[in-house]
Amino acid sequence: MSRIARIIAALSLLGTVTLAQAGAAELPVSEVATGIFVHSGAIALMTRENEGDIANVGFIVGDAAVAVIDTGGSFHEGEALLAAVRARTNKPIRYVINTHGHPDHVFGNAAFAAGGTSFVGHSKLPQALATRGPYYLDNFRRIMGSELIDPVKIIAPTLLVSDTMTLDLGARRLILRAWRAGHSDCDVTVYDEASKTLFTGDLVFLRHIPVMDGSIRGWLETLKELEAIPAQRVIPGHGPVSDWPAALADERRYLSTLLSDVRALNKSGEPIRAAAEKAAAEERARWELFGDYNARNATAAFSEIEWE
């Protein structure tokens, strides 16, 4: 080992020690393509026990800089993700991209708030965080406890995507795209041209039942356009890294079933509560967390299509 390398190793060891003292173990990540690291969150609700670690998060390393994509469901998870980055590269983290504003994707932001990092998101993300952030903090303080939630700070993006945006990490271009309301009203995807890897955030779910918090019709429209992206693999917001675009099939079937069911229920004059009980019922066995989210998806979808 050269002297320089030894010094760098010693310095990064020091860094690791500092992080360890702050309580951050390294978040397990796997390199799914050259320079693309992904941590797979549990298929679960955010709890005190799992520290909010339920979403897929990751980072992309270019020649000059690093982009982190989503930061996890607690400050503690964000710190652990930072430790995972630092264990692999000393290049600066130039960007933190939030694929949308849900707590399991943004609660770790504050771990990256030290100078020099730009937060990137949909042009509607600041508004979403402003209206929902305080509620999320209260609700998850109740669920996960103060110790985990007190360090969480809601950090809104300053670099805003309203259509498309290209970020250059040094010989590595990321294409960001802002979408119409779908999973939420502030969904952004990140496409790495070099490895043909697509980070979809929660526009794509596998195994974990899709959660609809934007527009069911918009989401189905977006799936048509997403499918055309010439990616080889997808990092979904929840569920395993998968082949593209085959990964879309289950989600499209679920959303289409839900949409046609709520339309039929509305047409026959059923009240919204009946929709919550009946819509997409035949999908139950195909998804994890169905009981946690299907009634809610149906409620939201019903109130949307009533205006058709």
Partner: protein
């Protein structure tokens, strides 16, 4: 947190010391007595179990859209009728969700709407009868988990629907012989709460919501609502009433910005 502080609650519990963390203190104090004072001027509350029913799902699946149904339990033989129903969501930032006045001749027996639920909370329905007494019923609702929030999902679309109204009639088994009707009114409105601070400007987003709604058949009152920010985006009322033979159903809504939205429909040809 050090090992010592982490173990404090355990130690306190073992020693029998009351160790109130703020969240527990909040859950412990019941806001209802204060609400009876503020909203009902401390008037006596009678048991409403045979007067007014309140139905909500046990868990608020979507915090922004929680269906609630209020149902009269008075027998048709009862000489009293319901004059008004006040819906209170105890632990919401603005607990008084709505006050419904029921038209004296419309015989409204059921009202369904959708509300926001911010917290684990009791929800009270207080009916005032023509005997001048208040009768209360309640249910308990668990807050939603996950990423749901009592806020809009698609802010742009809600804004684009501002002031649009729809009226719909539902087929009833006893119709058409009976004059009982079931209808629904929808009003496009963001119903913003005004309680959130804009993180960028550090200013509160101004409240903007439907605060008055009046429904009539011709000019005879069916139902009116004094609404607050706990009513979901795009206020939606589904209700039963008895037709007086009128040909026109009318709705007039007012919001906090002074907009007045009016619409009327041929009762036989509902729609937009």
């Amino acid at each position: 947190m050090s090992k010592w502080t982490r173990r404090l609650p355990l130690i306190a519990a073992l020693l029998g010391i009351a160790f109130a963390v703020p969240a527990q203190a909040e859950e412990a104090s019941d806001p209802w007595p204060g609400l009876v004072q503020d909203i009902f001027n401390n008037r006596a509350m009678n048991d409403g179990s045979s007067v007014i029913g309140i139905e909500m799902p046990y868990r608020a699946e979507d915090a922004a859209i929680v269906p609630v149904t209020l149902r009269s339990k008075l027998s048709p033989a009862d000489s009293r009728r319901i004059r008004s129903i006040t819906l209170v969501i105890d632990r919401n930032p603005a607990p008084m969700a709505a006050k419904f006045e029921l038209g004296p001749d419309a015989n409204v027996t059921e009202i369904s709407t959708r509300v926001r639920v911010n917290n684990y909370t009791d929800v009270h329905a207080v009916a005032e009868l023509t005997d001048g007494q208040l009768y209360v019923s309640k249910v308990y609702v668990k807050a939603s988990g996950g990423c749901s929030a009592p806020a809009g999902k698609n802010v742009e679309e809600a804004q684009s629907r501002l002031g649009k109204m729809r009226y719909r009639q539902f087929a009833r088994e006893e119709a058409p012989a009976s004059r009982v009707r079931e209808a629904q009114i929808m009003i496009g409105h963001p119903n913003n709460s005004g309680l959130q601070m804009d993180q960028v400007t550090q200013l509160y987003i101004p409240a903007f919501f439907v605060n008055q709604l009046k429904l009539t058949q011709d000019d005879s009152l069916v139902l009116s609502m004094e609404g607050g920010i706990s009513i979901s985006e795009d206020p939606n009322l589904r209700f039963t009433y008895v037709s007086n033979g009128a040909k026109r159903f009318r709705a007039e809504a007012k919001d906090t910005d002074g907009h007045v939205f009016r619409s009327e429909w041929d009762v036989e040809k509902p729609g937009t």
